[in-house]
């Protein structure tokens, strides 16, 4: 059996931005996710992380490119086949306040997906709802409550239970913790890790919280203005970031004791993120990159494997990642 659960090839999602412009939210993204692993996807707000996750799930129709799920191209799927895919691939949304229908009880929200995909009778259905609530650490009597009676953390647990209801293999966690109180974040992340172990889930974990991504992910992809600029193992990317953008990101992670880490200087980044409607030619990061040369403006850098399992899209991160340091 192929170890890859998901392969994304040249995925693009463009939105019309008025006056004939297009917003390239996701621009030729290539990535793979292995069975049972967590791929973290990080980047600034508006870099296309969420759109990428939603397009992979076909919540948005991709403009171009392929998503291969368990050996099958899902881009053209319709009807029953699409439904089968939706049963296997679910999503947890960022905002636990608006992602639950205010007019439905928790039980109805959780069971709705099961009604579409699974043929349970009422008893099985209720039992399943209770089991799901228990598995996310809530009592089963919450099934009769409404979303507005719950706290943010509880709502997000319901969001997780809802996604699990159809026994998916793959879940896109779309910033599942960023709307939560810090004290609740760890609980929810640990719950996600526990569920992954128990059910053999595969996650695409989208976040801008680098420390949290480091904690949960096996591999990490970094996005900038709709493109993937670097992707490698979670340990590697934090220890040896190669892309200039990733380096800046990593240096921005707050450390517990700055004094002890004196050698690490904080890198500065110049300017603002350009608008994705008028992205720079060639390498999108070149306008803010201190290493940029002519070639960066002319050619779009490909995502290349620089060392084993370490992919970078940069003209100046040749075979040796150390090159820049000497430059």
């Amino acid at each position: 059996m192929n170890n890859q659960l998901i392969e994304v090839k040249d995925l693009c999602k463009y939105f019309p931005a008025g006056k004939g412009n297009t917003l390239k939210a996701v621009d030729h993204v290539n990535l793979t996710i292995n069975r049972g692993e967590t791929l973290g996807l990080v980047g600034e707000s508006g870099c296309g992380k969420t759109t990428c996750g939603r397009t992979i799930l076909k919540l948005y129709q991709p403009t171009a490119g392929q998503v291969i799920f368990d050996g099958k191209d899902i881009s053209g799927l319709k009807g029953k086949e699409l439904l089968k895919f939706k049963k296997r691939a679910q999503i947890i949304f960022q905002d636990p306040y608006s992602s639950l229908d205010p007019r439905m009880t928790i039980g109805e929200i959780i069971a709705e997906g099961m009604d579409v995909h699974c043929n349970y009778n009422k008893k099985e259905r209720d039992a399943k709802v209770a089991e799901l609530l228990n598995s996310v650490g809530m009592k089963e009597d919450y099934a009769n409550r409404f979303a507005h009676e719950l706290s943010g953390g509880q709502r997000q647990r319901v969001g997780i239970a809802r996604a699990l209801a159809v026994d998916p293999d793959f879940i896109v966690c779309d910033e599942p913790i960023s709307a939560l109180d810090v004290s609740i974040q760890a609980q929810v992340v640990n719950l996600l890790i526990k569920l992954q172990r128990e059910r053999g889930l595969t996650y695409l974990f989208i976040s801008h919280d680098l420390s949290m991504v480091r904690h949960i992910s096996d591999r990490v992809g970094v996005m900038y203005l709709g493109s993937l600029v670097e992707m490698t193992g979670s340990g590697e990317i934090f220890a040896h970031p190669l892309h200039p953008y990733t380096k800046v990101l990593m240096s921005a992670i707050p450390v517990a004791d700055p004094e002890a880490n004196g050698s690490e200087e904080e890198l500065e980044i110049k300017g603002e993120v350009p608008s994705p409607v008028h992205a720079p030619s060639g390498c999108k990061f070149r306008t803010r990159c201190s290493y940029a040369t002519d070639i960066c403006a002319q050619e779009v850098p490909e995502l290349r494997e620089v060392t084993e399992g370490h992919f970078v899209a940069c003209h100046h991160c040749g075979e040796s990642g150390e090159q820049q340091k000497n430059a």
Binding site: R54, L57, L59, L83, K86, K87, Q90, I91, F93, Q94, D95, S98, S99, L100, D101, P102, R103, T105, E112, G113, V116, H117, F146, H148, E149, G159, R162, A163, V166
Partner: protein, 309 residues
Amino acid sequence: MAKYVVKRICYMLLTLFTVASITFFLMRSIPGDPLASMAKTLPEQTKENFYAKYGLDQPLYKQYFKYMEGLVHLDLGESILYAGRSVTSEIARTSPVSGMVGGTALIIGTFIGVCLGMVAALKKNRWPDYVVMFIAILGATIPVFVLASLMQYVFAVQLGWLPASGWGKPVHMVLPVIVLGFGSVATYARYIKSSMLDTLGQDYVLTARAKGLSERAVILKHVLRNSLLPAVTIFSSSIVGVFTGAFVTEKMFSIPGIGLYYVSSINNNDYTMVMGTTVFYAALFIIMQLVVDFVYMILDPRIRIASDR
């Protein structure tokens, strides 16, 4: 909950009392009286007898207390213009006529309006949206009397399909219902459109799609249900409008509804009739608001809980 209901009913009575009092004194401050139009021709003695009969010779405050006393016993008095007919029976006789025309117009108009609003929201910035919004603007801007005359001219005078006015046969209702319903279509189309666009942007719609629900189920179960809620508010005032009748429409189509009588009683200074109808309108309006609040509680779990606490 019980406490809430009692509180609401007390407020209701207080409002009614205020409306009745203000109307009473406003009516009396209008120059002229029920006899004004024929006063010159009537002998002095007849006038005095007339005033005495309706207590109009008494000081104003005495008349006021007498009226209020009657109101407590739900006695709205006797019409001055139509001797021998009580105001209550007049309202009971004319309001069902208004209710029938207005009710039909409201139900049909609301249904069409909601459907058009849905179409406009789902096809935003495409031709169906523009057509619906054009209809909605027409409905909101064309005065009723223009639309009514236009309808009468086209369908009664030119084509001869429908009677221009009158009452008695079902066919008499067609034109008034169209004229009255057009307003509802316009109001609800615009209201539902904006409310649905708002709902469509909510994450729970995306959640529903992620669950694998069909687009139809997403729209009907999640989007429409949540979008109809704000429309309930305007529906309450629409219901009142049904019973109070549409003055202009009833006049133009000679429909013997309550609106027609209201206007003629104001013209004739029929004090008791005006008072009675106004109090009736006010009571209806307040009761409808109460009903809507309860309907809201049934429809929206968030409000239900809040009021329990």
